[in-house]
Symmetry: C2
Subunit: 323 residues, 2 copies
DNA sequence: TCGCGTTCGGCAACCGGTTGCAAAAAGTAT
DNA sequence: ATACTTTTTGCAACCGGTTGCCGAACGCGA
């Protein structure tokens, strides 16, 4: 039923190998022949069968993209960019969601392994050990996670956190809280370390928390109890939840407490107060990660670390500290 | 390098066909033989090569899931549910994003066609004609779109819209606006028709609009100009944007204007005011759609329409009309 | 015109499973 | 013991491309 390479061969009076080469090794076939073959193929509506190609070449032309939670607005821009970039290179992307569960993450990688040429691991919660082991089975690129010797795309949250803390101290805040994220999160650790290294202020760490509004909501009580007047939240969702939680307890942002998020998601630009946040170059990360992955797929041991800049965007959720 | 069916055959002293059948047609092989083969396979770490299987059976065991915009929080729950359900059936899912562009949508379907066994089309913006044509090439299930004779999962927004209008009229609103969605959207049309059919109030339609916060933001002026005191927005994002836009123009919700959204996204439950909204059973839709799709994949012309209920959730964005 | 180097195209094996067919083995009835 | 089923297994072709190898055709200089 479907039109195959042999149909094209027959219809254009050449051997199947010539048809094949017309597509995958153009320089090996006479330009005239090639155009004729392509025309016939077009005419018949021929589309190469990827399964067949995968069988011989060992390349599926598929990539896996594993994220903790599709519903977290941090990921969609990254996913979109990765998809677009992959399609540019004639690759397709399986997006899989681990529900923040390391076990599910590992299973997914295993399942995907035989099905894709490489895997993009975004914000993985696995241990370094596990990641290193899995690496034997399939090429990886990590996003937002650092593991020795593995190709990686990072966003400089450390710097972002420093900017945030500076911003808060300039506003007069002397006691800060960091509402941290999930325990396996590199981003969270990075933020904590950066904040801890700022000597001029008191910093208290509250967490771990789920990286969602609910996490922020639940952290509100602890934040109030901590006596902090400035807060750096693990991400914008947490920040939004936190602001809501604070408000339920009578503390208004930014009047009583200043809150800074991370990611610059759309919701943060529209709610009230509009979030001061650390913007992450997620789309760029997705694009670059795909390219790194493809590179490491065909030139074996390619490795490298790309660090992308982050920016502090000041909006309405931060303000002067009251003495 | 990878262990194949022949390795297993050799190691267990049977023919490859017996190994193959041990997996895919257990009843055709002696139970003892089978357990031995499976043990050996397990031992060697054998994993069937999906590309090879796809080549002979013509089944890729992949599904396509096409959505207008992954970043729209309406979709992730549906995607997650679909993924989970598919995995249960040993299928994988390609999620693709059309950026609300019908052309991209068509291209994507074409590209995916040779790569998947069936496609889930969520809220497609294509014309019925195009959909019917594409259907020749590959099994479909539509979500949130009705096309004659195609398997479909719908959520009853019509009823939701009626409930919303009733709610608003009970609150005393006599002039309503419907902020509609993209022009290709079935949901939008459905809402409009349901609202138009409610005879006891004036309804004005404003649109089409992009189904995002920005769409809502931009519609604020028109809403004010329309003189409506109650608004039904295409979805929660639009509602949130609209509330923001109204506020910028000095109209507060729900004091001056009541707004109802659709979808019940998390952001709506947390912002201020919390959104009154029509909840959509997205997860159920994803699950059911996958099952319908798989069914129509192996039993050819399966067709049918599933209609899921929606609910009105009253929160804080609606209130009494002022006379 | 002959010889030689290129370019082009055909041949056929191969990737790793699946499956119709038939032989072999086991079971049953006579 | 024989003939006839039924179950179990092996054989081999096939799915639709890719690719190493080899011969044909062609161009070119002598």
């Amino acid at each position: 039923m479907a039109v195959t390479i042999r149909d094209v061969a027959r219809a254009s009076g050449v051997h199947v190998s010539t048809v094949s080469r017309s597509f995958s090794a153009p320089h090996l076939v006479n330009p005239e022949t090639r155009t004729r073959v392509l025309a016939v193929a077009e005419d018949l509506g021929y589309r190469p069968n990827r399964a067949a190609r995968a069988l011989t070449t060992g390349r599926t032309h598929n990539l896996g993209l594993i994220v903790a939670d599709i519903a977290n607005p941090f990921f969609p821009p990254l996913i979109k960019a990765a998809q677009a970039q992959a399609r540019l290179r004639d690759y397709h992307v399986f997006v899989a969601d681990t529900d923040e569960d390391p076990k599910a993450e590992e299973d997914l990688i295993q399942t995907l392994t035989k099905q894709v040429d490489g895997v993009l691991l975004c914000s993985p919660r696995l241990t370094n050990r596990t990641i290193e082991r899995l690496r034997e089975e399939i090429p990886f690129v990590l996003v937002n996670r650092r593991v020795r010797g593995m190709p990686t795309v990072l966003m400089d949250v450390g710097r972002g956190a420093r900017l945030a803390v500076e911003h808060l101290t300039e506003l007069g805040h002397r006691r800060l809280a960091v509402v941290t994220g999930p325990s396996g999160s590199w981003t969270s650790k990075e933020m904590q370390e950066a904040a801890a290294a700022m000597s001029e202020v008191d910093v208290v760490f509250l967490g771990p928390n789920p990286p969602t509004e609910l996490g922020g909501l639940a952290a509100a009580a602890d934040v109030l109890a901590s006596g902090a007047t400035g807060v750096l939240a693990y991400n914008d969702l947490v920040a939004i939840g936190l602001i809501e939680g604070l408000s339920e307890r009578g503390a208004e942002v930014p009047r009583d407490i200043s809150v800074i998020g991370v990611d610059d998601i759309v919701a943060g630009r529209l709610g009230r107060p509009k979030l001061t946040t650390i913007a992450m170059p997620t789309a760029a990360a997705g694009r670059i990660a795909v390219d790194m992955l493809l590179q490491s797929v065909d030139s074996e041991g390619a490795t490298g670390v790309t660090m992308l800049e982050t920016t502090l965007i000041v909006r309405e959720s931060t303000g002067e500290a009251h003495t």
